[in-house]
Every structure is written in structure tokens, then in C-alpha cells.
Symmetry: C2
Subunit: 351 residues, 2 copies
């Protein structure tokens, strides 16, 4: 990415492990009062007043991201976001992250600076401290492993297992855009291979591409629910598609559900692009993944509190377990939900 | 490793991400009372009564380990140990870990079962719960990223920065064996390449090989110090060699030191093997790394409490910063300590 720009290339081994970590994190500030000790000792030390929430995710080059259209700064930002999304899904507030990176020697220090600039931007935006990590070489691609810590009071914590019969199923934002953004980027990559001088007009897909390259975690939703006086009965973030996540909630709550096709929130760009690609927008919303919206259930008594809110859409309701998990189509037929979510263990294309 | 034994080979993609995690962790027990929610939600939930301690380490195939002589079960065990060692170095008690793994499709499920058996054995031995993680494919080698959590009271936490002038420098166990174990394994690998039927006699190196393949974290030392009524003024674990770690303590404490060559504890196998390899045992102890012993400083007033203990050796003392960091040789010459510790960012051999 940087190779063609005639920029400086500093070899990462020239700094050594500690020198590199120090160099990459020197401008990172500690802002959380709960961070007693950040980077620089055997371990970070953190004050925890409520319950601690911990989540971890690993992103692997060629599996989770393609460096040919994922700018390193965006990649750093997204790596943090996907982890924080899990913390918000517990109705918790993220406070710290650790960042471990394995990187091949083909990356100069300047490339890692870009990556860390993205990590720093996300840490700043979501108000979390980077308190530790590890930087090592890899024999091939880039691997990013982030662990996010957050805090929540016992009575506010929301699990996947708490959905009750007749609860309403609610989703934030809209679905399917991130997956379509990936399809657009893949298409442009193929076009670029044939004609490196093509100047694609990506304006009609701007929202889709942004959702893929620079997703945000819904930090506003736990805050909004608190403001509205709504305590969700269960919650999960949508990383693998609505279908897969709904099934998780139902399975862990030992319940069934009906999701209504005509209620699933879609952005106009999703609808027009699905028409262009001759894809079914419902299938994309159900199985696309990477939306990082929150899916949760609330007591039907709380419906008046959320009904007017433009960020929230009621898409169905919880039933008895014996009724199974279904989609009610626009034609009013009932079809079982299937978790077709992306499987990161499938054979990947290697180019 | 398993390929030649005619054992079962189940493709990892056949289980899917959630199926695989469930399969690998189903026999893991939750034993820590502080684990409120382990694997199975967006995040784990943990009760923290004291201060939380967090450390993370990433191990990369071909950089940190060689699968040709590292059995997967040992690898799993060691991956946990290296992380817990950092928690003990804070004088804290480890309580939970998360385990993320990127693995190529050349690994069958049975290989991952071996790896997780090692992780489970370590979790059992050190009494920590596995509360989360991630399993994904990789386009090449195996990457293991572990985050360890522990707890410590505010007054017991020990940082690298607390060493005072005239404090004694103490080390647990003995040094240099793990590095020599690696040299032996590398030598046998080369011999095996030339003659696959050779039956090497590894008995004279048994301690060295064990220190390399199955290191233990010194969980006994914080407990021992508590029993002896000794609160270290600073502490660090020896992962990169005595020299590098001593410099870390001195730098962060803004102090100098004198280490006495004749005091450095060496196992008899280290001495005989150094003679055989024509290596200087002091150089190996100073720069070898991977010993996972604890290096700490104590007030000289505490000397009577530790002097008779076979697990602890006083190797030097802390001086003013202006005096620098030195080794006093057997010939009574003073030479500067240099951090020649292993650099995981150096170009690695790729075979």
C-alpha cells in the first residue's frame, strides 16, 4: 500500500520488540480513571467497581480482511470496533483493550503506524485505553488479536439467555449493507485486475462501502435504552447475520420466535444494489453479517417507550420453544430460520 | 504429527466456528467463584473484588515454536504458562484466560483436541478458568493468542518500578536451561533430517528439554514470599533473559545494579552442556530467555527471611542510577549488562 508512494520504509526489526511497542503507542493517552497501570509492566492493572466483561476476537489477513482494499488505518479501527461491539452487547461500557499483532517483515514501521493510528482513533472515539499487547513477526500474513474489557453493574448486564415468551425482538439500525459493501469491493478488485486505470463510480454504494470498511459499534444504544428506561431481556451483536444471532438468543433462552420479513430494516442502497446484483435483500439481511448492530428482546410492556425511535425497529416476537424459529414472509408463509452465517473455518481462497 | 499414525482426521470446517469451540471446550470446567459467565455469550462476566491484572501474549508458528519437535499438547500447556507467568510477576493470582487460535485447514480436529488438552491441563494445574476465545482459519501457520486475567490487592501488587538503592536482587530457580533445551532440539532435528532412524540419547539433557517443552510458571513464589512475610519492591518474569529483565527493572525504577557472575544459579546440566557446546554458561543465563523464573528485589532488611530458601538466590544489589547496570565477573571485572534478549521481530528462517 505504501510501497508505491516513495515514502520512508523503516524495517521493523531495527526497533526491536520493546522499541516498536513503545514507538507505536507513545502517543496513546490513558484517560480511563480505572486504568491504574497501562503498557509497560508484566501486566496492566485495572480498578473494577462493577462486574468485569471480557471479549476477544482475532482477525486474520486473507480470512477476515483483504489488504488490497482495506486501508491499514481502517483495519485498525475496525479491529477495535468488532471487539467493542461485543461489550455493548452485554449492555456494558468498554474501558480498556489489549492489542496483539503478528506481522511479516514485508510491513515497514510506517505501515504499522497507519494500523495503530486507526486503533488509536477507535480508542479515542469509544473512550477506551490501550493497556497492553504484544508485537511479533509472522512468517506470512497479518494477524490482529484484540481483547476488550468493560464494566457493568450486576443488574444491568444482559445475556443471550434472558428472552421471555411474547417479548418483542428489536434491532438497531439497518442490515445487510456491510456484506454488500464487501461484494462491491470484490467486484472492483476484479475490474482493477483487468484494467488498472478504471475509475469506478462508487458513489451509489458509498453507504455500503463505509459499513464494510469503517463499521461503528452501537455505543449509543445501551445509553439510549437507559435513557428510555428499557432493560433488554436478552441481547447479542449482529456479526454473523440476523438469522444466526436470532437463533443464538432463542437457543440460549430456550424459546422460539417469529421474525417478519417486511419489518427487517434495509437502507435504500441495500435495496437498489440487491436489485442490481439480482440478490434477495432478505437473504442478505438474514445471512450477510458484519453489520455490528444490536439485536435484543424487550418486554412488550416497554413497546411504547421505543416505538417512536428511528434507531430501533421491532422485527418480531419470542414464542414458546416448541414453535421453533421462523421467518414470516411478505407472502405470509412461515419458513424456518437457518444459520447460514459466514464460517471462518471454511477453506479460503488463496491468491 | 498425527498424520503418520493412521488416526482419525476430521476436517475442522465440518464443525463450524461455534461447533468447534463447543467441541473443544465442552469438558472445560468453571471452578473459579469469580467466573459469573464463561464461554457462550458475547463476553465473559467476572466478579472482581481486588485489582484486576491483565496480560496478553501471542505465539506464532515458525517464530515462537517449531511443530517438528513441539508436541501440540505441550504447546497448549506452554501457551498458557507464558501468560500466567506475567500474572505471577505482578504478585497476583491468575483466575481466568481467553484463548484465540488461528489454524490452517491442514490441522484436523484431532490435532486441535491435543492442543486444547494441553490448555486444559495447564488451566487445571494453575486453577484458572477458560472463559472465552475465538477459533478461526489461517492461510498458513498456527497462531495462539492468550489473555490472562488475575487479581491482587492494591497493597500486594508489585511493579517493575519499585526497586530502591541497596535492595537485594533475587532470582527463583536456575537460568539458561530452556535456551539450551532449544539448542538440543534443533540439533536433533538436523540429525533426524540426515538420518531418520537415529535414536538419540537425550537423557543427559532431560532437564533442559523439559524446561523448553514444558516450562512451569512460578506460582509457588508469590505464595512463598507471602508466607515468609516478604513484599518485593519490584518484580518481573524472565522471558527474554536475565540481562534484559534486570535492565527493565533498573530503567523503570531509575536505578543501577551490580549482578555477580558467581551467584547466578545454574543447573549441573547447563554447566556440562555448555562445556559440550563450547558456550559460556553466563552468556546463556544472561541472554537465553524462556526460563519463566521470577526476578525481584527486596529490602536488605528482609535478607534473613529468604537466605536459607533453596528456591531463591541473591544475585546482586541495586545501586544509584548513575552507577549504571553491571555484571561483576568471577575475575572481579565490571562489564556493562547488555540486553541481547531474543528479538521476535528479527528475520526468521523459513523452511
Amino acid at each position: 500500500m505504501l510501497e508505491n508512494k516513495g515514502q520512508q520504509r523503516t524495517d521493523i526489526s531495527s526497533l526491536g520488540e520493546f522499541g516498536l511497542i513503545e514507538h507505536l503507542t507513545k502517543s496513546f493517552e490513558i484517560k480511563q480513571p480505572s486504568t491504574i497501570k497501562g503498557i509497560g509492566d508484566d501486566a496492566a492493572v485495572i480498578a473494577v467497581e462493577n462486574e468485569l466483561v471480557v471479549s476477544t476476537d482475532m482477525l486474520v489477513e486473507g480470512v477476515h480482511f483483504d489488504m488490497s482494499y482495506m486501508p491499514l488505518k481502517h483495519l485498525g479501527y475496525k479491529s477495535v470496533v468488532v471487539n467493542l461491539s461485543d461489550i455493548y452487547a452485554m449492555n456494558a461500557l468498554p474501558t480498556q483493550i489489549t492489542v496483539s499483532i503478528a506481522v511479516s517483515n514485508r510491513f515497514p514501521v510506517e505501515a504499522l503506524e497507519e494500523l495503530y493510528a486507526g486503533i488509536q482513533a477507535a480508542a479515542h472515539h469509544y473512550n477506551v485505553d490501550v493497556v497492553g499487547g504484544d508485537t511479533t513477526s509472522s512468517l506470512s500474513g497479518l494477524v490482529i488479536s484484540i481483547t476488550a474489557l468493560g464494566q457493568v453493574t450486576q443488574e444491568k448486564a444482559v445475556y443471550r439467555s434472558g428472552a421471555k415468551e411474547n417479548d418483542l425482538i428489536v434491532v438497531s439500525g439497518d442490515l445487510g449493507a456491510a456484506y454488500l459493501g464487501l461484494q462491491i469491493l470484490e467486484r472492483e478488485k476484479q475490474v482493477f485486475k483487468v484494467n488498472p486505470n478504471s475509475q469506478p463510480d462508487l458513489e451509489p454504494y458509498s453507504y455500503l462501502i463505509e459499513r464494510q470498511l469503517k463499521p461503528e459499534a452501537r455505543k449509543d444504544i445501551p445509553a439510549l435504552l437507559k435513557e428510555l428506561g428499557v432493560q433488554p431481556t436478552s441481547m447479542i451483536d449482529i456479526s454473523d447475520g440476523l438469522s444466526s444471532e436470532t437463533i443464538h438468543i432463542c437457543k440460549q433462552s430456550k424459546k422460539g420466535c417469529n421474525i417478519y420479513e417486511d419489518k427487517i430494516p434495509l437502507d435504500p442502497q441495500v435495496i437498489t444494489t440487491c436489485e442490481e446484483f439480482n440478490m434477495d435483500s432478505t437473504t442478505i439481511a438474514l445471512n450477510g453479517g458484519e453489520d455490528y448492530e444490536l439485536l435484543f428482546t424487550i418486554s412488550s410492556d416497554d413497546y411504547p417507550k421505543i416505538k417512536a425511535n428511528p434507531s430501533l425497529t421491532v422485527i418480531g416476537h419470542i414464542t414458546q420453544e416448541s414453535e421453533g424459529t421462523h421467518l414470516i414472509t411478505r407472502a405470509n408463509t412461515k419458513i424456518p430460520l437457518i444459520a447460514r452465517g459466514w464460517n471462518p473455518l471454511q477453506e479460503q481462497e488463496t491468491e
